[in-house]
Symmetry: C2
Subunit: 241 residues, 2 copies
Amino acid sequence: MNEVLAIPGVCAGCPIRGRAVCSRCDVSELRELEAIRFYREYEAGQTVACRGDEMQTVSSVLSGTATMTRVMEDGRTQIVGLLFPSDFIGRLGRNRQQHDVVAVSDVTLCCFRKAPFEALVARSSHISTQLLQMSLDALDEARDWMLLLGRKTAREKVASFLLLIRRRMARSGSELRLELPLTREVMATYLGLTIETVSRQITGLRRDGLIAVEGKRVILIRDLPALMAAAGEDEVGDPLD
Amino acid sequence: MNEVLAIPGVCAGCPIRGRAVCSRCDVSELRELEAIRFYREYEAGQTVACRGDEMQTVSSVLSGTATMTRVMEDGRTQIVGLLFPSDFIGRLGRNRQQHDVVAVSDVTLCCFRKAPFEALVARSSHISTQLLQMSLDALDEARDWMLLLGRKTAREKVASFLLLIRRRMARSGSELRLELPLTREVMATYLGLTIETVSRQITGLRRDGLIAVEGKRVILIRDLPALMAAAGEDEVGDPLD
DNA sequence: CGGTCTTTTGAGTACAATCAAGGGTTGTGG
DNA sequence: CCACAACCCTTGATTGTACTCAAAAGACCG
């Protein structure tokens, strides 16, 4: 993990400006944030935070992908959230980390010291309003995932995962080419499956012509409507307003 | 569904005063809320809200128990949240209901007209702060449930459910006597299981002496440590601060 | 006392987990 | 440049848990 000097005025060129927790802040608030802000970088595989640890900072993901996990005593593990750029890490109102956070690709965080950040939140409705909206979105997403974990078949789970990645990583030109930032193991841990089952389902989707595979980490969607049907999704295109 | 006249000044004697979304409000805010507030009652089994419907009101549960569900096209159903007294129903920032809400016992709601409520939230940090904390708690709970749905066995799921009810319904004198407000079907739908499997697991826990059953809806916990072990919980007694 | 609804129990099945082995890719060192 | 190890992914064979289908036993009601 490296600490990087904060660059004055860098918010203007911030890649997640407009989506992050600070997106509604005015200039004076941004200036306050800059005073308590610093960057941190993690390499793929490094641990960002451990459940139970004292929380000294909160942060926004600037680049890369991280996971939030819950682990049982005997080692069974479930990923309870994926963290993409603009997602917020931290829990106001608590002093300890609630989840283990691990970088699955190289990750850069924009960190804020927790105490002054919370003080600013108490004063600024801009931050608390944005944080509330982001939390509500996260809650909706978690509940969608509960439906997947509780009721979907392995094939539906994998298809749903590919569509999730498509939604969250919408970029890289064509929307039908997905560069998975994740290993099969991460996919399995997120989907409540084993690695072997994920692998078999990907093979199955490929054999049925819904997707094609380039190397190991690139998925091409060959038949989007069929993939959506295979995911058992009721309303992929039109999220409720 | 019956509408009941709001009783002036009733907030003073409100059963969820201190826990609900309005718990941090001052007198003038409460007065504003009273002007846009009314009660609604539902009988067990009645639908409170349907996914996709326009949201005219938001509300707090005053008494009773309700469920939030997600349904797939083919009918597979997952309960994504239980709503107990003081829980908030509604989604600021959206115009439509995100979930189906059904009363599983007789339910009384304290409803607020949505537009003026949102206007008040925009002005009052008391409400938005409380709403943020409640949302973050709901998010933690949803993530715990993801671990249950994705990784726990049927027996662990049922044991975890009983402990959840014990936590949420802490009252009725002895903490070892649980009056389930829910049918086996609701339990199954919440746990990602079938009715039959829930029934078998309850029988199993009874046979192993961890619980006893009185009639159909009352569970007596006979061996709490063993039940906690059977739930595979790492930290039942000490939630992270 | 029948009727409906909920719960329990039983028998057979299916889906994903487990156990096990074999490819493929990448990186390191001789 | 090649050999070898490490890692990740795929495939196969077998097992086990929870689902499905079916029926009976309790509740609760008029």
